[in-house]
């Protein structure tokens, strides 16, 4: 004879009991996450990089449903509209992806992106890339960022471990001198991309909240 199934409440109670047992199983593991096990890299792991890229992709996707053409035309700062700001993120998603792909192929760069007239970023490059996207639709801009960031995740999965954590000379030239290139690991650059994305995504969130008021 088949026994009767448990009622949902009983299933819920059982799950809670098992959950408490699971919590108890981890009681003794108190090692600080800042104490690294021998052999573990201090640098952020490949999984953590994938996770952070996933986070910005999700945040980006959620914005897609919030921004329409009218909102895209509103000014986000003194120079750029909201659509321009989104284009700025899309342009960097493409550039970072291209740079990481170049390093993964163990090739070097034949161009530089100097910071000019600003310690905050390469204004000329930023402006040129935003201008290049002015005629594109919001949908195209949203697609570009997402596809490039997804491609970057795939690159990370396939990248050789030593290459991921070995410093390379990237095109960014923060001093403005084209010969003084930024030398960091690809892992660091990916973390930097996520930081840059999150910084602007937070700005966009605040702007959208203001527009909705």
């Amino acid at each position: 004879m088949t026994e009767p199934s448990e009622m949902p409440e009983e299933i819920g109670a059982r799950l809670e009991l098992e959950w408490r047992s699971l919590l108890e199983a981890f009681s003794a593991r108190k090692r600080s996450p800042l104490d690294f096990a021998p052999g573990r890299r201090i640098a952020v792991s490949r999984v953590a990089l994938l996770a952070q890229l996933e986070e910005v992709r999700e945040e980006w996707t959620s914005m897609k449903h919030l921004v329409d053409a009218e909102m895209g035309g509103r000014f986000a700062n003194a120079a750029w509209t909201l659509k321009d700001l989104l284009a700025h993120l899309a342009s960097w998603a493409r550039e970072f992806g291209s740079e990481i792909a170049t390093v993964a192929r163990k090739e070097s760069f034949d161009y530089a992106i100097p910071f000019a007239m600003s310690i905050l970023g390469p204004n000329q490059w930023n402006e040129r890339e935003v201008q290049a996207r002015r005629e594109r639709s919001l949908e195209e801009i949203f697609r570009e960022f997402d596809e490039e960031t997804r491609r970057l995740q795939e690159l990370l999965i396939d990248m050789e471990e030593p290459v991921l954590y070995q410093p390379a000379a990237f095109p960014l030239a923060p001093s403005g001198n084209q010969k003084e290139r930024l030398s960091v690991t690809p892992a660091f650059l990916v973390s930097g991309k996520c930081l840059h994305d999150r910084y602007h995504l937070a700005q966009i969130r605040k702007l959208l909240a203001r527009l909705r008021e």
């Binding site: 088949t2 026994e3 009767p4 199934s5 448990e6 009622m7 949902p8 009983e10 299933i11 819920g12 059982r14 799950l15 809670e16 098992e18 959950w19 047992s21 699971l22 919590l23 108890e24 199983a25 981890f26 009681s27 593991r29 108190k30 600080s32 996450p33 800042l34 690294f36 096990a37 573990r40 952020v44 792991s45 490949r46 999984v47 953590a48 990089l49 994938l50 996770a51 952070q52 996933e54 986070e55 999700e58 959620s62 995740q153 999965i157 396939d158 937070a202």
Partner: protein
């Protein structure tokens, strides 16, 4: 203004965030307090999602991501709400992303189906955690038969997050959260028998 009694009754997370925002606690001390408060929950969330051999490493990833973020944490108005737990919500989302990254990486590294990979790793490490997990039949079953979006809701609710908090964290409506929770329980009920 929150009175002393109310302050004492509020979740530890809120008290820590308020103390940190007022400059009464260093970033490292606040981090340590939050780590001690939530370390078991983070590990348990991961234990349900991934093979047991990977839980420690992935938990460290989650906490390191949080550590980096906490140093630039924006103390919003939500910390004044007794219900909202922005840190727990952040950890929950980060566990999701880390587990997803781990599984994606594991899939690309092996030709075996994912289930088998997990079982092989688990089978090679007979530790206490595994014995506890073996006893967690309903949770194990949930992992096998429930879609990821139902697991998300189930794990959040088990950790004590309210439907509103889960909805906000996952960008869903509360109705969808409740619906997924009920669906997960119904799915488990259809597979489990009394006394199993």
């Amino acid at each position: 203004m929150i009175g002393t009694k109310e302050e004492e009754d509020s979740p530890l997370e809120n008290r820590v965030l308020r103390a940190r925002a007022r400059g009464e606690m260093s970033a490292d001390a606040a981090f340590e307090a939050l780590f001690q408060e939530y370390r078991r929950i983070v590990a348990s969330w991961l234990a349900v999602r991934v093979d047991s051999g990977s839980v420690d490493d992935l938990a460290q990833d989650v906490w390191l991501i949080f550590y980096g973020r906490f140093r630039r944490w924006e103390f919003g108005a939500e910390m004044e709400s007794r219900e909202a737990r922005p840190v727990l919500s952040f950890l929950f989302r980060t566990c999701q992303f880390v587990a997803r990254g781990h599984l994606r990486l594991a899939l690309s590294r092996r030709s075996d189906p994912l289930e088998e990979v997990g079982e092989k790793i688990a089978g090679s490490r007979p530790d206490t955690l595994l014995r506890d997990l073996e006893a967690a039949k309903a949770l194990s079953l949930a992992r096998r038969i429930c879609p990821e979006e139902e697991i998300d809701v189930l794990l959040a609710k088990l950790a004590g997050m309210s439907a509103r908090e889960v909805a906000r964290t996952l960008s869903l409506t509360e109705a969808v959260v409740d619906h997924r929770y009920r669906d997960a329980l119904a799915r488990l009920r259809s597979k489990m028998k009394v006394g199993s």
